[in-house]
Point group: C2
Chain length 335, copies 2
DNA sequence: GTGAAAGCGCTAACAG
DNA sequence: CTGTTAGCGCTTTCAC
């Protein structure tokens, strides 16, 4: 049996309350007493029981993190941002993969709440009414990271996805491209589908270019789907001269698919990705892409959560981080 | 205030014990009673408090995972394997990044133990004496994943790194290569340095090829360090005709560095990586690499941990998973 | 500056 | 099949 606070108290010849005070750094303890207690702790190899502490204090110093897939290079980076800030504020993280599955997500929220987490960072697809209902019932604060809440009911941290894509496409139209392909995620996906698609259409419209359905392909975010998509694009009667993809991995696929069929990037085809994951510099030519500050989104979300957990006043409920276009080898001109 | 088991008991007109029984699926409850309790739970929106349960039952259904860096494509894959199996066995995961820093690692072990985790999966560099001492004090089982314990004191899941590298190098020598470069991790790293280096030397020796110091460069596992290393290798009086790298990312760097200087892979230079992360098929030519079952290493570690946690008999304390060489475009011949 | 005592919400004998 | 009763190990008033 591990020694308890009671054992330490006895060993040190003081009360449990006093031991508790020194363990928690309460200054109202005479230095001599503190010393005695510390010695007893050392002698016994006492290790405070955080579960008991949690029950008594109603705080677990643990936050829940719901993430679609930790093995994704995209989410893993976000997770790292979250974890670093959590550590900084002395919180631990319970990490759960949801695979963006609504049932799982809702179930996980519940599990985390049962475990008495002090807050939750949620990353997922869309916040549906069912999600919202569940989240509203949460006795602890929830922050959405890289996740759109159509009603802006919950605190969230994002970039302006629509504008970001608009920037990317506008960059391309300014270079004179008239036929710009878009390799999108499923349109139901609020960020990678809907928002980005909206940015694409908006930019075309602003440039006075007619929208053509042929030029939009729905991918599944994988390299393979990029390879496949270029094939389809290139077999068009009027193939695109530039392609934008909603993530970097598909962009690599597009580059490779183009090269496989003897085309060269950026001469024959310019390519712009999205995210600026580490992949972007791990291709030749290097990938021009929209920089989304993944780590920061995670870090800021967690920081925001700490504010809510401490019941601090928060000025902005919905934070929007800056993005920019990083021009590299897969596009011709320098921006 | 959230309703407690006591509130539910009162609402349903039964005792706490009965409520506890239905919540825990104990069959010794009359169906009628069960129904009443369930209804009360529903009505009150009761959510069991896992912390209280943990205190009373001395089980947290939570396991700790110490990982060097979750944002690494390598470890993220391991983590996913761990998490999936944990979920399967109804455990949650407290995830902690250690950056392979010994002090952090030891501190994290302690924190996890304070939080009363039921077990720990540890991934890290080396198990030093200090680590061992700390781990020995753990009241709960610990399993090492992709981590070498020189004394084989703790349960672990790995592949035979030395043999795996030997296989890769032997494949190259069999193709007639006499000068094979190795882009290694720091030699102090027990797996990526020491073990792999040993496999390299062994294979050369078996092939009757003299070892040459020029042909070993220490990298830092990044793409850039691969690019840089080829530069150095190629400026040698007698440059290597094939290069083995201890991870895939450096291999991509090697390929790109070679291509940047006008060489073609595999014609002018053959390249073999290690890990078979998703990167391997995201380059041109695609990367021949040693397949290490990352997800499985994570999954098996977690499975092993569940056995220890359940006090089941375990036949093999130290498990060694199979590896193989996947031949792709960066080497000439098919194996 | 220190101690006594009452819980925190639940499980786990033990009775009945 | 159900209820009673101790705790689990700690925090937190409230006294002194």
């Amino acid at each position: 049996m591990n020694p308890t606070i009671y054992d330490v108290a006895r060993e040190a010849g003081v009360s449990m309350a006093t031991v508790s005070r020194v363990v928690n750094g309460n200054p109202n303890v005479k230095p001599t007493t503190r010393k005695k207690v510390l010695a007893a702790i050392e002698r016994l190899g006492y290790r405070p029981n955080a579960v008991a502490r949690g029950l008594a204090s109603k705080k677990s110093t643990t936050v829940g993190v719901i993430i679609p897939d930790i093995s994704s290079i995209f989410f893993a980076e976000l997770a790292r941002g979250i974890e670093d800030i959590a550590t900084m504020y002395k919180y631990n993280i319970i990490l759960c993969n949801s695979d963006q599955n609504k049932e799982k997500e809702i179930h996980l929220i519940n599990t985390l709440l049962e475990k008495q987490v002090d807050g939750i960072v949620f990353m997922g697809g869309e916040i549906t009414d069912e999600h919202a209902e569940q989240l509203r019932r949460s006795p602890v604060p929830v922050v959405l990271a890289a996740t759109i809440d159509p009603k802006e009911e919950f605190p969230s941290v994002n970039i302006d996805y629509k504008q970001a894509v608009n920037d990317a496409i506008s960059f391309l139209t300014e270079q004179g491209h008239k036929r710009i392909g878009m390799l999108s995620g499923p349109l139901e996906d609020p960020i990678n589908g809907y928002q980005k698609f909206a940015g694409y259409r908006e930019a075309l419209e602003q440039a006075g270019i007619a929208f053509s359905e042929d030029l939009v392909i729905i991918g599944d975010y994988t390299h393979d789907s990029g390879v496949e998509a270029v094939g389809t694009f290139m077999s068009l009667a009027q193939p695109p001269t530039a392609i934008f993809t909603s993530n970097d991995e598909m962009a690599l696929g597009v580059i490779h698919g183009a090269q496989d069929s003897g085309r060269s990037v950026p001469e024959d085809l310019e390519v712009v990705g999205f995210d600026d994951t580490r992949l972007a510099t791990m291709v030749r030519p290097t990938l021009s892409t929209v920089v989304q500050p993944l780590y920061d989104i995670g870090a800021v979300s967690m920081r925001l959560l700490t504010k809510y957990m401490n019941k601090e006043e928060v000025s902005e409920h919905t934070v929007c981080l800056p993005h920019r276009l990083e021009s590299r080898g897969s596009t011709k001109s320098l921006s």
